[in-house]
Amino acid sequence: MSASGSPATSGPSGIPHLDVDPFAMNFFADPYPTHELLREAGPVVYLDKWNVYGVARYAEVHAVLNDPATFCSSRGVGLSDFKKETPWRPPSLILEADPPAHTRTRAVLSKVLSPTVMKQVRDRFTAAADERVDMLLEQRSFDAISDLAEAYPLSIFPDALGLKPEGREHLIPYASVVFNAFGPPNQLRQDAIERSAPHQAYVTEQCQRENLAPGGFGACIHARVDEGEITAAEAPLLVRSLLSAGLDTTVNGIGAAVYCLARFPDQWQRLRGDLTLARNAFEEAVRFESPVQTFFRTTTREVELSGATIGEGEKVLMFLAAANRDPRRWDKPDSYDITRRTSGHVGFGSGIHMCVGQLVARLEGEVMLTALARRVARIEITGEPNRRFNNTLRGLDSLPVTITPA
């Protein structure tokens, strides 16, 4: 059902029940009316279609993200409850874990992707962005998704990880499976898992120590085994987290930023006038488009949230994208404004599970938008953009553009 469907009905608990499917194709095509319906129905809603609670307002999404003892991740951050169903792959040691286990693994990835490490890779990432823009200026007309949003992260991130050149074509399809699998057992999820075997085999193999080049993020994770911080069995699974969440997310983030700047030429001109806005232009695109739309948590006890009582063992769906446009929190939430104070948006999550690769994403976004704005006067959309459908990720499949040199 779309947002124009039946109005909310109240169950005995007073929590509004909604007949909407936030994992349906017609929802993905235009989620915003349904986001509004979800936000306005109440601070906590119930979605009859999948038997889950939902939160779509900023305050409640932020509260759930920041109470991991009550809203846990170890029972899966998708619809599937790991206590009742066998996960489709061995659970992540960081995303699908709770403290204290999570604390140890998180510390390792935080160190591997720290601000200090970003300083070391900045020049390399910048040079690759400039090189990419050189190529695009020669082409003039291209697909801003495959030729830019995908090509740029693919030109730096697998190398930064230390992956072999062979088999990298599995990376984006693997991530697509991972993010589809957080959704309900719909066609998207079933198809994704059915076709996942070769991608899984590639990823499992690449996570092994001997397959990761020295000096890369992957080797740095394995080096923590020698320090006694993690076991040899844990290291490959932590490398897997970077392979799962480090590429497709930035592809969609950069794609979102370019799509925004192409749609809103006044913001593009503003960026060209002040290149120091590039980093915030990327950040605002993450708020505005929310490449990662949703995550689930599972309650560890009965809990009262904004007047609603939720029992133990219930799935709670957090609408990050709806929170990022909640008028209770954001002034003119539906405007893309590169000078907005974006601090506090939940596009990267919040709390202990907040995206551990956020610094990599921001660095990629900043240097790419800087390179573009320095050299390109105009970005024009020259054809109908096509959407890519995924249960968790929001982004485009193609965005035909023509650029004019500055």
Binding site: P115, G344, M354, Q358
Partner: protein
Amino acid sequence: MPAINFMHPDGKSDRIETSDSESAMQAATRHGLDGILAECGGNAMCATCHVYVDEDWLGRLPAIGDDEDALLDGTAAERLPNSRLSCQIVITPDLDGLVLRLPERQV
């Protein structure tokens, strides 16, 4: 409510009133203060709310945690002995009048 004084690199200063048990970073961003980015929103993950604490106040702040210590090594402006992340400084009544100097840059 306690107030904090933020000193900008150009010598200007802003006196900011804090609310109940918020951090110095939260007070700064709530007032739209330039010079504090706080990209991660206060989760101690980004090092873009870096401040230099006035020497007179340094000893009165809570100790630096391991996470904060590691992040401070990656600040955009030089780390000094009085460097802290303002998201980790929760303002209590005894910190009324705290003086924090802003670095030249956060990224």
